[in-house]
Every structure is written in C-alpha cells, then in structure tokens.
C-alpha cells in the first residue's frame, strides 16, 4: 500500500511535467499537423538557461535566498525559450508551410539536432547539477513520502494548465487559435492573421516547456544537453496517448503516462520475480502507449472530425 501511494505521488509529479510539455506538441500539431520534434530541446534550453542564471547569481552572492534565485532563473528562461521558439518557427517551419508534410517533419528533427549540439557546445557534455537552494520540507501521507517541491510542481502545473485552458476557450486569441486549427482559409476570411496565431502557438508552448524544463531539473537535481530527447519523447507519447491535437487529451495523457510509468516501475520487479527491474520503466510507458493505440488509434480523447470546415 505504501509503495502504491508513493508511486502514485511520484507519477503525478512526473505526469504533470509531461503534460506541460505535451501541450506544446499537441497545440502545434492541432494547428499545423506538424510534430515539432524540437520541442523537447526547447524544454532542455529552459533548464539550461535557468541553471546558468542561477549559477551566475550564486556566484555573485551565495547568500541570496534560494527561492528568489530560482525565480530569477525562470524569469530569464521563459522569455528566452519563447524567443527561441518564435525564431524556430519563422526560420525553419514557415518557409515550408506549403511543402509536402514530410519536409517540415524532417526539418523538425534537424532543428532538434542543431539545438542539442548547440547546447553541448555551450554547456558541455557533463551533467549540471541543480544547486540545493530550495527550501525542502517533507511530509508523510498514508505512509508515503512527499516533498514540498513535489507539491509545488503539481500545483504549478495544474495552475498553468488551467490558465491555458482559459486562454484557449475564453479569449479572442484562443478562439482565433481554434479557428485556425479547424480551417486556416476560413480563419483568414474572418480577418485572422494566421501567421501571428501560429507564432503565438509556438511561443505559448515554449513558455510552458521552459517552466517544465526548470521543474524537471529541480526535481531530478540535474540538467544535461541530452535531457530534452527522452523528455520530449515521453511528452510526445503522452500527447498521442491522449489524442494528439486535443488539449485536454495532452493533459490527461501526460498525467496517465506519468502514473503508469511510476506504478510500472514500482511493481515490475514483483510481477517478474525480480527478473526485470525498475529501470524498465521507459519500456513500460511505451508498451502502454502501443497497447492504447492498438485499441484506440486516435488516442483516448482524440476524434478527427470527418469534415474539416
């Protein structure tokens, strides 16, 4: 029972981070039908920029309050990633808007490799550790161990997702985004400048990714130039699991994938008599993804409306 609750909590934390990153994949896919493989790298850049700022500030004055230092890191990382995503869309994807679908997809993989290598050149190959400056408290819930950071991560992710939901459902920009996703041509007829809407979509996704990057590096205490790859792959899987293109689906898919992964990691040893260990958690997550896609190819909440307006 303690293991179950513990893994459920761990999964919830991981899952809410996956969900935040998955939103970026699903929003871009919803509008452009493009899988933006560079999105994982944007997340990595968020972590790297924030850690650099944190390192610089602590270098100047190690006595600065930890929470403030991390906040400063986030405040620099978010606009940096927004700018990066804006540039990626403009330079790499926009010229290919009318090209066959494979072209932007390959470009996305190219952008991802470029960003990884750029990060390697700037920050090196070694792991960068997240300094232990955040106040840490821990609680015991039903026999499981919960840290203040875990609670903070889940609450922040939920708040951001609620904010995004409000933006997409209730604001003028959100309505324009949904209109553009349904028909670019008709959206233009309504006076929507779709280039701006597409830019906005990338930029909003990048802001969420930057925060997710900082959270994940704070959670694991590490950042690395290659961290965006697996995180991006998991988040993309989460988006597919929930039904790519569907915003609620990305949130659900992220949480589910995190929980499934954590529970899988917790119990896989028992199930297989110790033959497979918890390092098989990645395999477990992808196995569930395949299983869902066999029975529901469009994902849990995905439904392609047959006639696109």
């Amino acid at each position: 029972m303690e293991i179950f609750v513990q893994q459920l909590i761990n999964g919830l934390v991981l899952g809410s981070i996956y969900a935040l990153v998955a939103l970026g994949y699903t929003m871009v896919y919803g509008i452009l039908e493009l899988i933006n493989f560079a999105h994982g790298e944007v997340t990595m850049m968020g972590a790297m920029v924030a850690l650099t700022v944190i390192g610089l500030l602590l270098g100047l004055n190690p006595e600065l309050p930890g929470l403030l230092v991390v906040l400063a890191g986030v405040l620099i990382a978010v606009p940096a990633c927004m700018l990066l995503a804006f540039a990626i869309e403009k330079v790499a994807y926009r010229p290919l808007r009318r090209a066959p679908r494979l072209a932007p997809l390959i470009t996305a993989i190219g952008v991802s490799i470029v960003l990884q290598n750029a990060a390697m050149l700037i920050w090196g190959r070694q792991y960068i550790s997240f300094p232990q400056i955040l106040p840490q408290m821990s609680f015991t819930v039903l026999g499981a161990h919960v840290t203040s950071l875990q609670i903070f991560i889940v609450l922040l992710c939920m708040t951001m997702m609620a904010g995004l939901w409000w933006l997409v459902q209730k604001t003028r920009l959100g309505r324009a985004m949904r209109a553009t996703a349904q028909s670019k041509e008709v959206a233009m007829l309504m006076g929507v400048d779709i280039d701006r809407v597409i830019s906005a979509t990338f930029v909003i996704g990048a802001a969420l990714a930057a925060i997710a990057g900082v959270l994940v590096s704070a959670y694991y205490g590490l950042a690395h130039y290659y961290m965006g790859f697996m995180l991006g792959l998991k988040a993309f899987s989460a988006a597919v699991l929930g039904g790519i293109g569907n915003i609620a689906g990305a949130m659900l898919g992220g949480l589910l994938l995190g929980i499934i992964e954590a529970l899988g990691a917790g119990y896989i040893g028992d199930f297989t008599g110790g033959f497979l260990g918890s390092h098989y958690q990645d395999v477990f997550a992808f196995f569930v993804l395949i299983l869902v896609l066999v029975f529901r190819p469009s994902g849990l909440l995905g439904e392609r409306v047959a006639s696109r307006a």
Binding site: R175, R178, A179, Q182, L189, M190, G191, V305, R308, A309
Partner: protein, 234 residues
C-alpha cells in the same frame, strides 16, 4: 466611384487559366449576381476577390487596390466571403462562430449586430450553445451568412448559397438574402441556379469558360433567349 471595380482579372492554377480577364463593377447598395455553369470561373473570381487565390489584373474596393493583400487584410477592409460549402467552424458553438465573424471589430456595436443576426435567424438563437457541426445544412448556411454579417461588411460575397440544400431551405435562404439586401448591404452573389439569382438581383453577369459573356439588368437577362436556353431551361 463604384464600391467594387474589377478590371482584366485573370486567375490561373498551375498553368491552367480559370479566369481570362473579367471586368465587373458593383455599385454601393446593389445586389449583383454572377451566374454560369459549373467550372465557368465564378468561384475563382470570388476567391481572388477575397485574397484566397493569386490573381493578376486590378481589383479595387472604393478605389483601394486589393491585389496582393493577404486575405485577412482584405477581410479587415470590409469584404466578407461566405465560401462555397459554408466553411463553418464545426467544432465551435454557434455563438463562437458568430463571435469569429466579429473578430476584427472592437466597437460597441457588436452586441447589437448579434441581436440583429439572431432576429434574422431565430433558429441560430435557439441553438447558440450547440456545436456548429451538429447543425443541418440549411442551418449551417444561415450560420455562415450570419457570421459574415457580424463583420458588418461593406461588400458581402456569397458563393453558391443554395448548394446542397433542400428546395424549401433554398427558398428560405433566398428570402433572407433579399431581406439583407433590403437593409442596404452590397452583395455579389455567385450562383449556378440562374433562375433564383436573376430573381433577387438587380444586375447580372453571365460567365462562360472564364469570360463574361453577357451583362445587364437581371430582368432583361431573364427574357434573353440565349440565357433562357442555356441557363433557365426554357
């Protein structure tokens, strides 16, 4: 000055010429129709006007050149196209579709115009919270027209509003088009159903293989033997 002046409009799709130099004028407050058979280039003309298709020639709205402007900029100048096939946002509610029609507007008159559209189409008022994809074809056409009106257009372009609708619904839509024209909205109507279009319009252009073949007052064209045999089945 005429509200809309088109001179020598040419549209080509990858080497295939769809429109071969069309001249057309619409005066303020007029309802003008453009009739012709399938493939005559009527829709291409409208799409070029709205900025959805690249075209050469000269298109002017109240003297301002529209060629080369992106579609959203043309929409902001007051040209509203109700596209062929209606083009409603199927996954948005009726109310959200209408709000999209007023996307470019920030004036205080939007609420009044919404009331006016709901008065014009009471069916839409009943279904305002319903997802537009669940509406019938006729209701979707009403929504598309209502949405275009929400932009308070200087020029309303209608592309085949009768297409795919039951005869009863076609009658209703055309009554509404006349009612809208009665409020002073300038309209250019493209229609394959020549009979209907000639009845509601003041002037008409007949298009054939990408060219204007005939032009004149609708009432006269209706009596023209060539028009009768080719388009009215007389």
């Amino acid at each position: 000055m005429s509200l809309l002046t088109i001179r020598q409009l040419k549209v080509a799709y990858g080497g295939i010429q769809a429109v071969h130099g069309v001249d057309l004028v619409v005066e303020e407050g007029e309802l003008v129709c453009l009739i012709g058979a399938n493939g005559a280039g009527k829709s291409s003309t409208l799409r070029a006007l709205a900025g959805l298709t690249h075209a050469s020639g000269d298109i002017r709205l109240a003297g301002r050149r529209l060629n080369g402007l992106p579609a959203h900029a043309i929409a902001r100048l007051g040209v509203a196209l109700v596209p062929e096939g209606r083009g409603i946002f199927a996954r948005m509610t009726v109310a959200e579709n209408l709000a999209m029609g007023a996307y470019t507007r920030r004036d205080a008159g939007v609420a009044d115009d919404l009331t006016r559209v709901y008065d014009l189409f009471p069916r839409l008022a009943e279904r305002r919270g319903q997802v537009a994809g669940t509406l019938s074809g006729g209701e979707q056409q009403m929504l598309a027209i209502g949405r275009a009106l929400m932009s308070r257009p200087r020029l309303l372009l209608l592309d085949e509003p009768s297409m795919g609708l039951a005869p009863l619904m076609v009658g209703k839509i055309y009554e509404t088009i006349q009612a809208i024209a009665g409020t002073g909205v300038t309209m250019l109507l493209v229609e394959q159903n020549a009979h209907l279009a000639l009845q509601v319009s003041q002037r008409a252009y007949v298009m054939e293989s990408g060219r204007i073949r005939l032009a004149g007052a609708s009432a006269e064209l209706m009596r023209d033997p060539a028009v009768q045999s080719a388009y009215l089945g007389a």
